[in-house]
Amino acid sequence: MTSFMLAGTNASKISSQLTMLRHQMGAPAVGMVLTLVAICDESNQYDAVRAATDAAREHPSRIVVVIARSREEPIRLDAELRIGESAPGETILLRLYGDLTRHAESVVSPLLLPDTPVVAWWPGECPQVPAKDPIGLLAQRRITDARASADSVKAIMSRSRGYVPGDTDLAWTRITPWRSLLATAFDQPVGTVESGVVEGSPGHASAPLLAAWLSERLDAPIEIAESEGPGLTSVRLATSAGDVSVTRSDSRLATLVRPGQPDRRVALARRPTSELLAEELRRLDPDDLYGAAIRHLAD
């Protein structure tokens, strides 16, 4: 890993420094498929960079991390460039001071890879309408994370107000394995679902989201109940033929129960942020089903 600090700099100096570092390492900037812009603060930047770097193993990217520092300071831009041998792509950490914190896009925009997709990610708090945020405007995919909000459930409930196609939330990504397993359970006819319950630890944003998706798809009332967790612990659906349920208490192995069939255990582990991010980056087109689920959730 080669790292380089630039204090009191600007975007064009950063660009030429990057080019120089690449030449020094003999690694041309080929193969990077997208630019990931993470909007962080100093407290969550370490985890964000780590997750993004891991995800970059699957999607080689230029990672631009925007960290807003004190607004009271004079205007100043500090940059840290990292080009690793261990991971593909490159990471640029930008620290913004003074009024520049309000014009981050002016630094980010010239650092985007030309002619490739841009993804914005808010690992912490996010703007009301991500698509109208100056950095969000540069991106065609915007990723938020309701779990980072003080009130996650409220955050996910209100996502539909600021929704623009291209938005997704990691709370949605977290339930993909659950959705996949439930979909498998319905591959063979089960009968009509009359009602259901999703259980999860209190304040877990994914529980209401999963319930909303199920309710929207199955056209049945789905309730939310609290459990001791961790995370989601069970989904029970009452069908005309009997109960279909998925239960997971140890956050790793789940049990699938279908009427008229033996119980089966299925690996259903909780996933680290890097894997969630990698899943997000696999699809760069709008996720209509997420849109439908949060709209249903808000109703």
């Binding site: 193969g31 997709p117 623009v164 990504t173 959705r179 798809r217 089966r264 690996a267 582990a269």
Partner: protein, 534 residues
């Protein structure tokens, strides 16, 4: 929201990706309210089923199949209740087979070992001991499968993977018929998976097919050519049919010739019994190289479904023409003692188990032409060999020289022909070679390479070919498996060459670690061409 942000064109989606995502069809979505064609996050998962593996103690099972099954599980692609039944001539219990599987996974799996995935897999592992001739063993297998249906909810869906030498096929298939395991009750399926070699000539391929087709319908027979499961090979389709850049020049108007190479640095190792009498052409050209040729040369299929794809491949294979004079249009050789990558190695005839008068070739090169409008007059050179300089498989499409070069002869002395190279393995990717000015005051033009490395732009490690193919078997998706007609067409190409070679005595020697016999180079030289230096 009225102000939808204007994003740069979303070019990340390719036709290939769209084709791969088409797994959730409208019909599936109607039957299952939780599925939606727009829901691209949900992976293609097979329905509940059992995989019965014959030949579990073989090298392939340990190195490829069992790890691939685990990797599928780790990626969440195995259905709940998936069960794996091993069958072999061992006095084993379930736990012995589980131990073998566990060890194979630990050693060879691509993805990290996770306890919960192993637990899920372990619950479905069963073992049935017995010999192929033993009726009792197969009755026990049928009983075991019935029990698994009850305890695991696998619904009578069985895939039989025959990872055994072809001489056992008749016995196994007959046993499956006798025990009724080959007949799928209404609403379930039975599939049989066989590995190459699919015979050693047209006749034996037809005989072999007669055995399986007497019991299983063609649609239930999955022939594995693991090359077709490789991401880079599937990418040939994306490269050709998702882009507009290459197709206009993909014809006799611009292409000079193509070279398809599969080189191995290893010798025959412990495969003497199989290899002698078979040789490089039957082992590699008949299946892998002709399949690669078909994908590179075929017209665009109407869709990526199995029928459309196979039809186009068959058309190309039918249009293949052998050289007029087989002595001039083919070459073969056998390695002699030499130095391979810094180590002294023995020659083919000195290998254990190889008779001194063996006429089997370890190197084969063939020049083929395709009699159609697109390719008339463009030779396709196929070569494969053991103990060559290094391990590499690639398809190189070499373009004609520019019709007019407004440079002085000295300036372009070292300018070669443009080439597009699809690197299949290792270091998967695509290279484009073209001329570029050497910096300086003179107008000197020289070849440069532009490179796309698969591992750099996408997955850190792409799924193994066997993962993809096993998943396709369990889902019942056949496009990546050659049809019997393709197998027979390939033998029709190769049989005359093999007959000619059989009449020519021992093949020419080439020193291990070099790039094949002189006759192969001469074959190219007669056409005014050279093999790419790999």
């Amino acid at each position: 929201m009225d102000t939808e942000p204007v994003a740069p064109a979303d070019e990340a989606r390719t036709v290939a990706a769209a084709a791969a995502a088409a797994a959730t069809t409208e019909a599936v979505a109607r039957a299952n309210p939780l599925r939606d064609p727009r829901d691209k996050r949900l992976p293609r998962v097979a329905g509940p089923c059992v995989l019965v593996l014959f030949g579990v103690t073989g090298d392939l099972a340990k190195r490829k199949l069992l790890p691939a099954i685990y990797d599928l599980g780790n990626r969440g692609l195995l259905p709940p209740g998936f069960s794996l039944v091993g069958f072999a001539r061992r006095d084993w219990q379930d736990q012995d087979f589980a131990q073998l599987t566990h060890d194979a996974i630990k050693e060879h799996a691509r993805t990290p070992f996770r306890e919960e995935v192993w637990k899920q897999l372990r619950e479905g592992i069963h073992f049935v001991p017995g010999e192929f001739a033993d009726d009792g063993a197969f009755d026990a297998l049928a009983m075991a499968l019935k029990e698994i249906d009850e305890t695991r909810g696998t619904g009578g869906n069985y895939a039989f993977y025959l990872s055994v030498p072809p001489k056992f096929f008749p016995k196994v298939v007959e046993q499956l018929r006798r025990t009724g395991l080959a007949d799928a009750p209404e609403g379930s399926w039975r599939r049989v998976v066989i590995e190459k070699p699919f015979g050693h000539d047209l006749k034996s391929a037809q005989d072999l097919n007669a055995i399986t087709s007497a019991v299983f319908p063609e649609s239930s027979v999955f022939r594995i050519d693991h090359y077709l499961g490789k991401e880079t090979v599937q990418n040939i389709l994306a490269l050709r049919f998702a882009n507009n850049l290459f197709e206009p020049i993909w014809n006799r108007g611009y292409v000079d010739h193509a070279q398809i190479t599969m080189a191995e640095d290893i010798g025959i190792g412990g495969r003497a019994g199989y290899y002698d009498g078979i040789g490089a052409a039957r082992d590699v050209i008949q299946n892998h190289l002709l399949q690669l040729l078909a994908l590179v040369a075929m017209e665009d299929p109407t869709s990526f479904d199995a029928n459309a794809l196979r039809r186009e491949k068959e058309k190309v294979l039918k249009a293949l023409r052998l050289p007029q004079d087989l002595a001039l249009g083919t070459a073969r050789g056998a390695y002699t003692a030499g130095w391979q990558g810094g180590e002294p190695v023995v020659g083919y005839l000195e290998e254990d188990g190889i008779p001194a008068d063996s006429i089997t070739e370890t190197y084969a090169a063939v020049k083929l032409e395709i009699a159609n409008r697109r390719w008339a007059g463009v030779p396709f050179y196929l070569r494969t060999g053991k103990r060559l300089g290094r391990r590499v498989t690639e398809v190189a499409v070499v373009f004609q020289r520019a019709p007019h070069l407004p440079f002085s002869k000295d300036d372009i002395e070292i300018l070669g022909q443009n080439a597009l190279v699809i690197r299949v393995q290792p270091d998967e990717g695509i290279t484009v070679r073209f001329g570029s000015k050497v910096p300086g005051t003179a107008m000197e033009v020289r070849d440069v390479s532009m490179d796309f490395a698969y591992g750099e732009s996408f997955l850190e490690s792409s799924p193994e070919a066997y993962e993809r193919l096993l998943l396709d078997v369990l889902i019942g998706d056949p496009p990546l498996f050659p049809h019997q007609r393709e197998v027979e067409l390939s033998w029709r190409i190769l049989d005359p060459i093999e007959r000619f070679w059989a009449s020519q005595g021992q093949p020419e020697g080439y020193a291990a670690g070099t790039w094949g016999p002189a006759s192969a180079d001469n074959m190219m030289a007669r056409d005014g061409r050279v093999w790419r230096r790999l």
